[in-house]
């Protein structure tokens, strides 16, 4: 028994360790406090004069800065600051100097050297509990969206019965279905045929109670899920747009489960402000395009939304036909010729208003306006001479489209003549966003101040260091040379853990740090198992080389079993848990995997290097063992 690894195994261990060191390295470079400047609209380009205005504002305030860069394409610019304390002041100054067209956000600019980031190296992201910021959980009222759709069907059925002169009473039942009652079976059958033709998506059921013949129309389960999904994804899109306006460097907007949306805004302190912007409602207005000879007092000029038609505008009448509340749905589809279009459904009142307005205006054009609540900053002088920014809300109205009215419109109509399916999808999305299918409410909110975040990092690092030091001390005292080997493996494990977390882009949170600490404690377990096995073998009178060999072999299955079961628990934690629990689960599972590598293969390589390939009389593995 010589205990020698083939050369490739040593090289493998070395290679893994080197790669680990490489990808863990970005975390050593502390990020610079920085300001990130972006244009409010995508058309707004950041050029050198803009950057010069920003730097001038900083110099005037005596704030040291360096490393200014503009992204290729001019989408955003980065200004690094020398002092994190001045970041807030700097932000206010630059925002003031640039005005409302730009968003100035606090940022932490990585200082990873180019050669490292070219290899894909990046530091770990910090969770909100470490960086400070706000975490919101919003709930989309899916039931309200379903309710609205039912209301639409109810009105549509009422209308079709009225038009066909079928007498019946239409109402909603407790299960959220539409129920119609008729005096005769013929009426019911006639109604059934009509509804089935107009709304094939509804599932219909016949029935009777006493003198009445009834017809119940229900939305299918699939349809309800679709409505709910629609409502959530639509809110998701609107929230993404608004979050971008908040000027946060790395916001997160993510769907969670059935009907929740998580929004994380690092660095934001004023939650009231953030909530106001996130909670604003967009709206729609349908107005006729004004005739050329219309007097100035009856018309208004609006610009088109989006980059394609930037700068173009139309004159619209002041009178509003309908607003977004009347829009039940908007969907992109294709007409019979395969050209993309958007079909719009209105509720019954909307349909009436629309037909009244369009009946006599065929061949004229109708404009659709998208209205968003925005904020403008004004600076008010305080009594003590300082300036305080004040947010003034205003409604921004922009034109989405202005198609020609081909015929009198009712509750259902199409916008045709669109260039591409993409444009149709975009328009349908904007129409739905304006209609806001489902209200949202805040169900969870967590704000962590920057000082607490910094303190959490400091305390976390301190406890890892202290815990690690104690373990190192104990292991070396107890297992001597073998203990030293275990300690080297433990350090390698930490490096690999950090490298792996950085590589997969995992977020480090406070419970994540706790996971690392726990891994440190538990990672030595594999080595303890092996070492006590070796000691037993020595006691039983085996030769040192033989003891090493059997020790590792015998302990392997135990280590595997123990780690796999722990891994099962970690995976369940990840699957079921949210927020902090998830963070902990990630570090724990990564730690289990890396520790198995370092504690079994890593230590074996070292032990082989120290003891392997020669005759030895004794092993330095602690007290009580004589070999």
């Amino acid at each position: 028994m010589l205990n020698k690894y083939p050369l490739w195994k040593y090289l493998l261990v070395l290679a893994v360790l080197l790669v680990g060191l490489l990808y863990a390295a970005p975390n050593l470079y502390a990020p610079d406090p920085a300001l990130q400047i972006t244009g409010e609209s995508s058309a707004q380009v950041i050029d050198l004069p803009t950057l010069a205005r920003a730097t001038a504002a900083l110099e005037e305030a005596g704030i040291a800065h360096f490393g200014e860069v503009i992204d290729p394409g001019g989408r955003n610019a980065l200004l690094r600051l020398a002092d994190a304390e001045q970041q807030l002041t700097a932000q206010a100054r630059v925002q003031r100097a640039l005005g409302d067209g730009f968003i100035v956000a606090l940022n932490l600019a990585p200082t990873t050297p180019d050669w490292l980031s070219n290899l894909g190296g990046q530091p770990m992201k910090l969770g909100l509990d470490l960086s400070g910021g706000v975490h919101f959980k919003l709930e989309v009222d899916v039931d309200a969206a379903v309710e609205r759709r039912r209301e639409y069907f109810l009105n549509a059925i009422k209308r079709v019965l009225r038009e066909e002169r079928i007498r019946g009473i239409v109402g909603a039942d407790e299960q959220g279905r539409v129920e119609a009652r008729f005096r005769s079976e013929e009426d019911r059958e006639q109604a059934r045929a009509l509804v089935a033709e107009n709304h094939p998506e509804l599932s219909l059921e016949r029935g009777s109670d006493g003198d009445n013949w009834t017809l119940t129309a229900a939305m299918t389960e699939q349809m309800r899920t679709e409505i709910a999904n629609y409502a959530v994804s639509q809110n998701l899109t609107t929230l993404r747009n608004r979050v971008n306006e908040l000027g946060v460097s790395e916001p997160l907007v993510q769907r969670q489960g059935q009907n929740r949306i998580v929004v994380e805004l690092p660095g934001i302190q004023d939650t009231a402000e953030a909530k106001r912007i996130l909670g604003t409602v967009a709206n729609l207005e349908f107005r006729l395009v004004a005739n050329l000879d219309a007097p100035e007092s009856d018309k208004q000029r609006f610009e088109y939304r989006g980059e394609d038609r930037a700068g173009m505008s139309e004159w619209l009448e002041r009178e509003v036909i309908i607003t977004g509340e009347r829009v039940a749905n908007a969907q992109a589809s294709f007409d019979e010729n395969g050209r993309p279009n958007v079909s719009i459904s209105l509720d019954s009142e909307g349909g009436t208003l629309m037909s009244r307005a369009t009946r006599n205006n065929i061949k004229r054009r109708m404009g659709v306006l998208f209205i968003e609540r925005k904020y403008r900053t004004r600076y008010e002088e305080q009594e003590d001479g300082s300036e305080k920014p004040v947010q003034i809300p205003y409604d921004e109205r922009k034109l989405l489209t202005a198609p020609v009215i081909q015929s009198a419109l009712g509750a259902q109509f199409q916008i045709t003549g669109l260039d591409s399916p993409l444009e149709a999808a975009e328009l349908a999305l904007m129409l739905r966003a304006g209609a806001l299918a489902a209200p949202i409410s805040f169900v969870e909110e967590r704000t962590v101040g920057p000082s607490l975040g910094a303190e959490n990092i400091r305390l976390g690092v301190k406890s890892v260091q202290f815990g690690l030091a104690l373990v190192v001390l104990f292991m070396v005292l107890y297992y001597r040379v073998f203990g030293l080997v275990a300690v080297v493996a433990l350090s390698a494990n930490l490096v690999l853990l950090v490298a792996f977390m950085s590589l997969i882009g995992a977020t480090l949170t406070l419970p994540g740090i706790a996971g690392i600490v726990l891994t440190v404690g538990m990672a030595v377990d594999a080595n303890v198992l092996i070492f006590s096995r070796i000691r037993e073998e020595l006691r039983d009178g085996r030769s040192p080389q033989m003891a090493i060999h059997t020790g590792y072999d015998a302990a392997l299955s135990t280590i595997l079993d123990a780690n796999i079961t722990t891994l099962i628990v970690a995976v369940i934690l990840y699957a079921v848990g949210t927020g902090p629990v998830k963070g902990f689960a990630v570090t724990l599972s990564v730690g289990i995997v890396t520790s198995m590598f370092t504690a079994i293969i890593g230590t074996r390589a070292l032990i082989n290097l120290i003891y392997g390939g020669r005759r030895i009389k004794s092993l330095s593995i602690g007290w009580g063992v004589k070999a």
Partner: protein, 304 residues
């Protein structure tokens, strides 16, 4: 190696475990858990005063300011104050409360954190947490049943349930707050206790096959004695880092560290006594662990 007669004290250990379980369950039934904000819903505001905070004054201020029922305690130091509002306040109250405190204090009142959890979220979490725990226990039982034998799976799960209930009971008796991180710790306790249990079970299995003449009690005593050193060393190193986390980790992670510390102590004890006791009670024997006879081997015997 000296074989310690662990099983000689097994009746005593059984009584001890039973006593701990009764205390834990009794306390959980009567005092329940001090559910944290994550589970109850409500609002929590933590602030840092530039000078020593006057808790009584803050309480009065909040009472008159329309926040009756607020719990005001110092958190960590006498300048750090934590205020908890019961459910029924909206998500806007946290910020308003902060303004109220800032307007009524001459020095600076710095925001540390605000947490608002809606009632429906809390209920869901409690459900989810319970579900995670049951799922973990079930899967683990399956894995051990598959890798070892059914009696070992029962032993392992008995140990896990034992550890979880006693740790929960500890939180209930001491009145420590039970929040999401503590739940995570509890699940980690399951992982840790399992680790210990498997190491012991593994050795019991090995020795049953190796020591053909010994009876079950002897085998278990020998196995426990052999693994004792490893059990102690691992528990000790783990406790070293956990103690470090409890002392230096700060208030937000304290509950986590304490839960794990208690869990590790109980887990170490249970891997020695609860698992072994269950095995003895279930009458574990050599036959349970006989290596499955391979079909090929049987045929070899038949050939002359």
């Amino acid at each position: 190696m000296k074989v310690i007669n662990f099983m000689g004290q097994r009746k005593l250990a059984l009584a001890f475990s039973a006593l701990l379980l009764i205390i834990a369950i009794g306390s959980l039934a009567t005092r329940q858990l001090q559910w944290g904000l994550d589970f109850t819903g409500g609002t929590l505001v933590e602030v840092h005063y530039s000078e020593t905070a006057n808790l009584g004054g803050i309480r009065d201020l909040l009472d008159t300011g329309g926040y009756s029922g607020a719990i005001v305690v110092s958190f960590g130091s006498d300048r750090d104050v934590m205020i908890r509002l019961p459910q029924g306040h909206t998500d806007k109250d946290g910020m308003q409360l902060l303004r109220l405190l800032q307007d009524n204090f001459d020095g600076s009142v710095e925001l540390r954190r605000i947490e608002f959890v809606g009632p429906q979220v809390g209920d869901e979490l409690r459900e989810q947490g319970g579900l995670a725990m049951l799922l973990a226990l079930g899967l683990v039982m399956l894995y051990i049943g598959f890798r070892f034998q059914f009696k070992f799976a029962v032993g392992a799960v008995a140990a896990l349930v034992h550890d979880v209930i006693i740790t929960l009971g500890f939180f209930s008796v001491i009145g420590l707050e039970f929040d999401l991180t503590v739940l995570a710790a509890l699940l980690a306790v399951i992982g840790y206790s399992l680790n210990d249990t498997i190491v012991v079970s593994d050795r019991v299995r090995e020795n049953f096959r190796k020591l053909r003449k010994a009876d079950a009690i002897e085998v278990i005593n020998i196995s426990l004695s052999e693994t004792l050193g490893r059990t102690m060393v691992t528990s000790f190193t783990t406790m070293l880092v956990l103690a470090s986390l409890a002392i230096f980790g700060g208030e937000m992670i304290n509950g986590f560290a304490v839960a794990l510390l208690v869990g590790v102590v109980v887990g170490t004890y249970s891997s020695i006594y609860v698992v072994a006791n269950t095995l003895v009670l279930l009458g574990v024997s050599k036959e349970d662990l006989a290596l499955p006879v391979k079909e090929g081997a049987e045929q070899d015997d038949l050939t002359p």
